[in-house]
């Protein structure tokens, strides 16, 4: 019993650590993008300031919303937090509660609630954002499952911690390389980055993730943003642990990925909405090839 509690505590500590650094990660990506545009850019701590600002503001609700509207940001944040506790990360001796399928569908639960809430206020932008989010998640889900299947086949397990790449250098297979590229494409789509969604647009008509958050204010908005930033952190951690065959510390891997995402976003522009299926199709084909190679 004692070791279960101890392990659980470690999981929670890890989630808190990831949570604490998630806004910094988002700040670093923004900073990289700004510098590449020859702009000074906001401080890497800007996301913390924004969160503090939203936290102090009141929540304004339209009279047309139901309880889902308040529930959704909380569920969304909690699912990200749970995922952060499950992801194989920094600390040894964690509990292996981290079944891959549970992990994927916990994140899907959060997305489901966000899509519900986007329709709740009955605004056109929210509904459009929600519909697009579902459209993209339908495409992303098989890709994530395939990506997990590869490691699952290799290590004969479905727990995330069992799938962690061994760093002994004997691990540079075609399959791993393909999965690495494909999972990076998935990260961009799953976290609403360019070229799938534009995280810093003000154009309501093209929004996906931002469209769903338009009606939110105050602490609820802060929760959604924190949840998305944490989700990004979780995905990069997972990417580093499972798919990036380099024997460097996880934190360095995550940092490199953040810089890479900034660069990719600068080199790209948003694609036509209906082209996303071609993009995700490419990721899925890469993953299928990786499975065959495996």
């Amino acid at each position: 019993m004692g070791y279960i509690l101890e392990g659980l505590a470690l999981n929670i500590v890890q989630a808190l650590v990831l949570l604490a650094f998630a806004p910094l990660l988002a700040g670093i990506i923004s900073k990289v993008k700004a510098r590449l545009q020859k702009r000074q850019g906001a401080s890497v701590l800007q996301e913390y300031f924004d969160l503090r600002k939203w936290w102090r503001k009141p929540v304004i609700l339209t009279p047309y919303t139901s309880s889902i509207f308040i529930l959704a940001p909380i569920v969304y944040f909690m699912t990200s937090f749970l995922a952060a506790a499950m992801v194989p990360g920094f600390l040894a001796g964690q509990l292996t509660i981290s079944d891959a399928f549970v992990f994927v569908y916990i994140l899907a639960l959060g997305r489901f609630f966000m899509s519900l809430s986007s329709m709740d206020a009955a605004t056109a932008f929210g509904g459009m954002g929600g519909a697009r989010e579902i459209y993209i998640s339908v495409l992303v889900e098989p890709a994530v499952m395939l990506a997990i299947l590869i490691n699952s086949l290799r290590y004969h397990t479905t727990t995330l911690s069992g799938m962690v790449i061994d760093y002994d250098g004997a691990y540079f297979t075609v399959s791993a390389a393909l999965a690495c590229v494909a999972f990076f494409l998935v990260i961009l789509a799953e976290n609403c980055r360019l070229p799938v969604d534009n995280p810093d647009t003000h154009l309501e008509l093209t929004m996906i993730h931002e469209g769903m958050t338009l009606e939110y204010s105050g602490p609820l908005l802060a929760l959604i943003h924190l949840g998305s930033m944490l989700k990004m952190m979780v995905f990069l951690t997972l990417f580093g642990a499972l798919y990036l065959p380099l024997s460097v510390p996880l934190a360095v891997k995550i940092l490199c990925c953040a810089v890479l995402i900034g660069v990719v976003e600068i080199l790209n522009n948003k694609m036509r909405l209906f082209k996303v299926r071609v993009y995700m199709g490419a990721a899925i084909v890469l993953l299928l090839l990786a499975i065959i190679a495996e």
Partner: protein
Amino acid sequence: MDKLISPESLLAAAEQVYAQGQHPLTAMFGRDETAQGAGYAIYCCFELPEKKDICVVKAAFEPEGSLSYPSLTHAIPAAAWYEREIKDMFGLTAEGHPDLRPLVLHESYPEDFYPLRKSVRVNAKVRGERQFKMRTAKGQGLFEVPVGPIHAGIIEPGHFRFSQAGESMLQLDAKLFFTHRGLEKAVEGKTPAEALHIVERICGACSIANTWSFCQAAEKIAGAAVPRRAEIIRTLLSELERITNHVGDLGNMPAGVGFNPAISLGSRLKEQLMRLCEGIAGNRFLRGMIVPGGVRQDITQELIEEIHSTLDDVAEGVEDLAAMFREQENFQNRIRTTGIVRTKTAKDLAMVGVGARASGYAHDSRSDFAYGIYPELDFKPYTKTMGDVAARLLVRIGELSASFEMADKLLEMLENCQGMPLCADVEYCGGEAWGISESPRGSNFHFLALDGAGRIDRLFVRSASYPNWPALTIAVQGDIIPDFPLINKSFELCYACIDR
């Protein structure tokens, strides 16, 4: 005025001049002549490109007579908005118009309020209620998306109502004129010199075009000849204004798709140009340069060199920008076949400027009319035929290189006519005349009527955005709604220009 007719025969006379679209409708507007003992009048202006002239057809209403006339819209689709505006401003009804909803005056105006009638005071305060219905498509599974009038970016107000089938736009109705300022009314009773300050503030993007058209009209009435050096400076300023706006627009279009490096480069180049403008005119919008009779300030030798070096810099930057657009396949994919306006549509709506030329309609006042130094510059309109966002982008890039060349020639001409006079004396008398010039967005038309004392009786301003707004609502049909910001930016239409 070339033809004076009765309102009943307006349709027949207009159709005859229009000649199935050979002579496009430049503008159509009302006038209140009750103070002179006559009635209301409607002016129809048609372009005669082969004569480099405009044919003005005037329909004079009998005092106390009927206030309706046969609508031209079925024969000349471009008349649709003008007739609605005339109804709003003067209460003259176009019988048989397919869509006589209000255009300019929104819900908060009373029913029988016609602001441009002389009986309404310029500072009249009114309050009332009227209907302003948006046009929407109905059917199973269709829904509406209302956007604006207040937008997420810092832009002017406009309300867009999309009728959607999923992501596809079936129909778009735009409600504009939210901040109509009544400038045409405000200048009445002022001398052209006084009105000039208002005219050059109609719009920030085309202050040179507006003042130039206005001054052309005033100079025609006064019979003043503009000195050659002033004409060269005016032409140079006009090209500078075009370069500044085209560069700004090029930098704005990638913002519709989140193509960040191009946005940054575009805004840097535009800033460079606006600072150059500030060096020339003392303000970033080239205001205060053109006056009736000539120009107010000279462009000194030092400035000539500064213009040279800045334009060389910017020309290089524009090449980089064009290369960025060319090499970004994902960007090309977004702009090609998006927001198409066909040639027939462009001609029917009498589109102007970049929008017209990108649709294969070679309409450009710089070649259609002989004004400024353009006849000496051997200018040819730059056209593309696809009519999509890509075509409008390429037209801007093509026109920029033409403008850089022209600016070079103009600077050389300036060096060769040092010390020549800048401004002629202007003595006003009664009369009416039009002026036209090509603004960055297209032809800019002014009609000016002065009374015997040389004061303004009627000024009508038709900026380039006016005929192009209806084209935007057609261009978006069949595209998906996330493409709207991009299509909108490719037209870069101005709200202030129509809120005059």
